[in-house]
Each structure stands twice: as C-alpha cells, then as structure tokens.
Amino acid sequence: MEHQTSFALSQSENELKPGNTLAWLIWALSAAVATLLIRNPLYLAVIALGAWLVYLAVGQGQSVAHSWTGLIKLGAVVWLLAIPFNALMLHQGTHILFRLPGNWPLVGGAITLEAVLYGVVSGFALWTLLLVFVGFNVAVDASQLLRLMPPFLYQAGVVTSIAVTFMPQMLSSATEIREAQQVRGHRFRGWRDFLPLVVPLLTTSFERAIQLAESMESRGFGGQLAEMSARQSNGVRLTMLLGLALLLGGLLVRSFWASISWLGVLLMICAALMLLCAFYWFGRRVRRSHYRRARWRRADTAIVVVSLLVLATTLLVRAANRLSLAYYPFPPYSLVPEFNPWIGATLVLLSLPGLLSLLRGGEL
C-alpha cells in the first residue's frame, strides 16, 4: 500500500482542453503585451502569479501540462544566469557590493546592488513571458488554433501545426537514438562522433514526414479549389500587384522624403487593404468546411472582457507616462519599485481564467 501511495497515478488526461481558443488567444496577447511593456517587478509578479494559476488550474490532470515543467525550470535557470551577467557587465550605481580588479576586461570594476536588481527584474520579465506562453499552450490545442486560420493560410497552418507536433516526436526520437547508441558503446571523442546520432535522427524524421504526407494525401489534403473565371483570376492578380507596388512606394516615400512621411503611411495602409482583399478573394476559392464551430460560453466573454481591459489599461498608462510601468534602479531613481494599487488590481484580472478553472475543476 505504501508503494501505491508514493506512486499515485495522475488523473487521466482524456478530456479536451477547456474554453474557447479565441478567448485564450486574446488573454495570451494581452498578458504578453503587458509583460513586454512592464518592467516594474511588483506588476510583473502579479502577471506571473496569474499565468502560474492558469497553468496549474487548467493543466490539472493533464500529462501535457507536466511536460512543460522542464521548460519552466529552464526559464528559471536563464533567469538566474541573467543576474550575474548583469552584475558583471553593468558597473553603474551607488550601492557597491564589492569590486573586481579594474584590469579585468569587461567585468572589472564595481559590482553594484543596482546592477544585480536590474538583472533580477530583466530575467523575471523573461520568465513571466514564458509562463504566459506555457499557460496558453496548456489551455489551447494546436489543432484548435489551426481552426482560427483564415482559409488562404490554412495549408500553411497545417504545416506549422505539424511542425509544432513534430518537435516533441523528434526529441523523443533523439532520446531513443542516443540511448540505442549509448548502449552500443558510442562515446563522444570528436565531431565525427555526432554522425551516429545525427544520421539516424535525420533519416527517421524524414521517413516519418513521408508517412504523414502519404496519410494526408490519401485523405484529400492539398486543395479542393473552386473554379475561378479568367476575369476574377486576373482581378485578384492585379489587386495583389497593385498592393505590392503601393507597399513599395510607401516604403520609399517613408525612407527618402521625411517631410511627407504621412503619404508613405497612407500608401502602406492602402497596400495592406488591397492585399487583404486579394487574400480574402483567394481564400474564398479554398473549398473547405469545418466540422465543429467552437462553443462560446459566458466564461469566454468574461476572459475577453478582462483581457481587453488589461490591454487597454496597460497601453493607456504607458502612453500617459512611460515611467509609471518601468523600473530603473540606477540613480537618480529609487531602488524600491513604486506600486499603484489600481494598476495592480487591473493586472490581477489576468488570473480570472485560472480562478474560474480552479473553481470548476479544470473546466471553464
């Protein structure tokens, strides 16, 4: 019985991932933009806690979630490495911890508390971004994401999603090959010793790609395109050509005639609209249907509303005063970060999906 307790099985991960993919996409976008614009460690901590809660709550019982722990640990290692790197490279600040000999190249000089704190915050921002990415991945399937692709990008989307799922398979093959060669006595002595690992990995991946391509081809993948009249076809081509020409013109105007750069922007906006129209027309040719439309629930509305609120608040606060979201420990600024409770309270909203999921046992 003791054994069974210590090796308790995790819950089955049979269930599908919760929530609407579009809602999660907006949540991830909002959290990522906030993380990129914020350097204040207190606000970052609020975002990180929110993302961590999402990871724990949504990922409960999923072995997929367990597999992300390695990346989270790796991110933590990168974070820790950022601290000595900053401390050794930046020598500004008044709170000197100790000094390295001045004749040591690059690293010589004062090691300051400010530089250490700057390293801590920079690494923390990266790690927070990673947590947001992991939370999003635990909450959303690649195949669900694929369904959001516009028709003209569908095939590129399938290829991308396969590439994404291919990566874990390739890593698993790499482990299998390394183990097989290891027990065969293979040791690293020089560059040639990579061959027993690289050659099987490449050939195995290639063979798997061929098998998957065969399977997809055999099930009708690769385009059911509706017929287009010559006139429509020429119209799409002309629109694309004009769009590209306007884009080029806009870039040239922006680069060489600074006084009329507004005209360049205008041309580029026109170009973007024309290209979008062309892609839309082209996308309508792709004959493809969708089996299931993703469900939209009240929880999804709540996630979108709070995510947009966080995004708007972050952008407005940043536009009003860049320093209000920043943290710069070097003089003349304070070592202690400021904290505006209203901003903090707004960022707390990012943990709403996690809280909802926690309350409903992993479901939204």
Partner: protein, 533 residues
C-alpha cells in the same frame, strides 16, 4: 471491381521493376489478403490502388489499373480518397490532429462536406467500429488497437468502396490485433466493403480472408486463389497450415476449429523428456531484479517487479502494449535506474556502476532498428560496435552468414527491408559479443523466413551459454525460441514460468499448435512431428 492489366512498375533509380506484368482482378465485396516475403512488392501493389504509386513516389509505370471505374495513374491520390481508404502500418504516423473526433473530420473537411453530413457520417463510423466511447479522447491516450480502429474510421468517413490496409496489425499485441481484425470482418460483412490488406503474421489473419494473393517477388507472376489453394503451393504459411501440410490434411486447416477434428485422429506418443528448465536454475544468476518500481510523467510503468534470470536462460517478456516491457528491458541494460528496488547484473547494482561496465556484458537491440543504423555499409555497422567496445575490427563477418546478411555486407543499411534492417541491428549488437542479449520486439514487420533466421541465431547464442531476454507480442517466436515466459500486466508480473506451462494455461499468449492440442508437450510443429516419428 479492381483490375490490373500488365502493370509493371519500377521505383526511381531501381534497376529492376518491383511489379512486373502484373494481372489481377478483385471483385467487389471481397476480403483479400496480400502476402509475400519482405520486398516482394506488397506495399507497392497496395499503393497503386489509391495512386500513391506513382504520384507520390515517382518511378515508371506501364499497363492499366482501374479501381471502381477510376484510373489511379491519371487521378491524384486526393481524388482517389473518396473511392479508396488507405490505412498505414504505423498508427502513430498517420494522425494529423490530436483528438479522435477532429481526426475523423479531417478528410471530410478537406472535401468540403457540409457540417450536417459530417456529423452523420462520424456518428456512423463511431458505431461501425465500436469506438463511440473514444470520441472525445486525445489520440495519444489510446491503446494501439484503438488507434488503428480510429485510423480505419478516419478514412471510412469518406465512404470509400475499397479499404486498403498495409500490415495493420504488425505493431499490435494479440488482443489489439483481434479487435482490429474483427472490426474489418464486420465492415466487410455488413457494408460489403472491399478490403485488401497485407500482413506477415498469417496466423492472425488468414482465417478472415476469402482470397489470397501471393507475390513471389523478382517479377514472377502472383499466385492467387482461395486461401487453402494458395497456401498449399507456398512455403510462407502459419504453423497450423504447416502442420496440415506435413500431415497431408485436406483441406488445409485455417483455424484451430478446422484442425481440431483432424488432430483428434492423431496418435501421439509421449514426447521424449527435454532437458528440464529447472536444470538451468542451478546456473549462476545473471540478472536479479528486486522490488523494481519505475514511473515517468506521472505514470507508473513498473510496480514491484521481482525476477531472477540464470545464466543461459532464454526468456520472453510478453504483455499488452504499454504493460511495461520496454521499460523493464531498459532497466536491465542500465539506461533507466530504479526509483525503488534494485537491478543487479552479475552482482553489479545498475545504480552504482557506470554504463560502460554493464554494456560490456549486456547487449540491447532496440525496437526500432533505425535508431542504430547510420554507417555506409552493413559491415561498417558491425565494425563500429566493435571499435566502440575497444575490440578489434576483425573476425565479425561470421555473424553475417547465419543472419542471411552476407550478400548485403556492402550495402547501405537504410536501403534494406525492415526485416533485413532488424537483422543488421541484431548483428551490430552481437558484434560486441555480449553475454546477456536483450531484444525489444525483434519480429516487427518481418516474414517467416527472416523469423526462422532470427530464431536460429538466438538458439546459437543460447548454446554458447548466453542469456537471451526478448520482449515480444509474437507468441510463435516465443514458443519456438524461449524456455520461460514472463507476462506483464499493467507494470506487474502476472505470470512467470516455463514456456510450456504458461502457454498451455493461457488463452491469448499461446501458440497455434498449443491451442490445438492443449498439452504442454506441444508448442510447435516440430514438437508434434517428433511425437509422431
């Protein structure tokens, strides 16, 4: 109706065609089994049916093929997909999305079918294949048999008239294979679907087939006809049919039931006593596994395993997919370390000695031979292993002949067939002269002749006093080549005993001959023939 008229096909750069002047007719609603040695052209023939050959592979083709009125040489595979459903050997490699329902919808979405039609068809195939309970499951959580049934369902949603399967059970355990084959039989009977499949393990499928097509390879014409008729003319036969041929039974039995009446007429003398398995237990202990536990990713793969293997024993580790067989072998070679308990190899605790010390005694042939092969020639593969173990390059060529690899010695290993690659990987491991040999699923995708070669090699190793442990689903291999069977179930040892006792008391892990005679004296055809002599 499917017709092949004077079809000749050669892969790009091949010196001779793999199919030569082939003429065939398959009538609607037939269940046809395509058999032949590795490299005889079975997969090529099947791929001609939906146009993957020549559209996907290139090469040169002549003659005419008609499948339900379409010409797959002119039509693209995607056009053929509404007529021919194709299921591949490896269930893992054919899935595009990650949930069952989405996978079933994939082909229909590609054909832009209306949502209402898709829903109706998905419900139908879920019921036809009895997988409605799997609808919301992630594909990576399914068992091998479930995956293969989902793969079949995913092509049936387009309502093809013909279903083609390339060795659909080669990677499955006996129970999972039975699930898949029963499903196919039901589809054939209920829907009138034409089913064409290839398979190496004839003992699993031959009773389901209405007609056999034997491809002899090397451009010779196929032998086709009723299963008994074709099997009487070829050597590639399952044990039961081999016994029938040896004893001149007419008609040849395809099932245990067919053979039972004839077997009752046999007068068998008590078999001569064999060297007792118990005698081996006096030999020194090679492997001692004590209360071994192992878990990964939250899944407990091994739960308190206790095993003792003596020098010179040959042991088959059997059990369903995912029962912990591969994990156990990896523990024995030191690739994994016990989370609890201990593994001792000739007294060495695998947690305390470096891997180099273990692999000087233990050789491990992985399930996938492609994980090993990288050199330019077969000979170089063997030389690499010897150099890695600090041995001289010379003297290993004798390994090539018994494994039937002499003529391939200078060939690029990756160009060989699956069975040949399997044997090259075995030779590459044996080149280090290990005293304990571990093999993980050594007969996947290999034909009877290659299996015989493998069995001879394993027996030769045993005669040298070496210990052999193999993990396998292949009950015929186990019956013919081991002394002892360990059956794992959900990470625990369910049965551990003499092969004859275990097989005689098992409904699933038992050879055809033993199922027929239900006597621990008879596991193989040779056992019966010896008793008759």
């Amino acid at each position: 109706m499917i017709t092949f008229e004077h079809v000749t096909y050669a892969y790009p750069g091949a010196q001779r065609p793999v199919l030569s002047d082939l003429n065939l007719t398959i009538v609607d609603g037939e269940l046809v089994l395509v058999v032949g040695n590795s490299g005889a052209g079975k997969s090529t023939l099947l791929r001609c049916l939906n146009g993957l050959v020549p559209h996907f592979y290139g090469g040169t083709i002549s003659g005419t093929i008609h499948v339900q009125g379409l010409d797959p040489v002119r039509a693209q595979p995607r056009e053929m997909s509404t007529v021919v459903g194709f299921v591949f050997q490896d269930p893992e490699a054919q899935f595009v999305v990650d949930t069952v329902e989405a996978e079933l919808a994939f082909a229909m979405e590609n054909h832009a079918l209306p949502q209402a039609t898709m829903r109706k068809r998905i419900e139908e195939v879920l019921d036809q294949l009895s997988i409605a309970h799997l609808r919301d499951r992630r594909i990576n959580t399914l068992s091998g048999g479930e995956k293969q049934r989902v793969a079949i369902a995913s092509v049936l949603t387009l309502e093809p008239k013909v279903l083609v399967l390339d060795e659909p059970t080669s990677q499955l355990d006996p129970q999972a294979a039975e699930e898949v084959l029963s499903a196919l039989q039901k589809l054939n009977a209920d829907l009138g679907l034409t089913i064409i499949l290839s398979e190496h393990r004839l003992e699993r499928v031959v009773q389901y087939a209405e007609r056999l097509i034997y491809l002899p390879g090397e451009g010779r014409p196929p032998i086709e006809g009723a299963p008994q008729e074709v099997l009487s003319q070829i050597d590639l036969v399952p044990p039961l049919v081999r016994l029938g041929k040896q004893l001149d039974w007419e008609p040849l039995p395809l099932t245990i039931k067919d053979a039972r009446r004839r077997a009752a007429e046999l007068t068998l003398r008590p078999a001569p006593a064999e060297a007792s398995h118990a005698a081996l237990k006096q030999a020194p202990v090679d492997i001692l596994v004590e209360d071994l536990w192992h878990a990964y990713d939250g899944h407990v793969a091994l739960k308190g395993i206790n095993i003792t293997v003596h020098q010179g024993e040959s042991v088959a580790v059997m059990g369903r997919n995912g029962s912990g067989k591969t994990t156990l072998l990896k523990q024995l070679v030191g690739l994994l370390h016990p989370r609890r308990g201990a593994v001792h190899i000739r007294g060495m605790d695998t947690r305390r000695v470096p891997l180099e010390q273990i692999i000087s005694l233990v050789g491990y042939v992985p399930q996938n031979p492609n994980a090993l092969l990288f050199a330019d020639t077969v000979r170089e593969e063997l030389a690499f292993t010897r150099r890695s173990h600090g041995l001289t390059d010379e003297g290993r060529d004798p390994l090539l002949a018994p494994l039937g690899l002499t003529e391939h010695a200078e060939r690029y290993p990756r160009d060989l067939s699956v069975g040949e690659r399997q044997r090259v990987s075995l030779a590459a491991i044996l080149a280090a002269e290990p005293e304990i040999i571990l093999l993980d699923e050594p007969t996947r995708g290999i034909d009877y002749a290659q299996k015989q070669a493998l069995m001879r090699t394993l027996r030769a190793e045993q005669h040298k006093g070496h210990t052999v442990i193999l993990s396998t689903h292949d009950v015929e291999l186990a019956a013919a080549s081991v002394d002892r069977v360990i059956i794992l179930g959900d990470g625990e040892v369910v049965v551990d005993g003499n092969v004859r006792e275990v097989m005689t008391h098992s409904m699933v892990f038992s050879s055809q001959i033993n199922k027929l005679l239900r006597d621990d004296a008879y596991l193989t055809v040779e056992d019966v023939l010896r008793s008759l002599a």
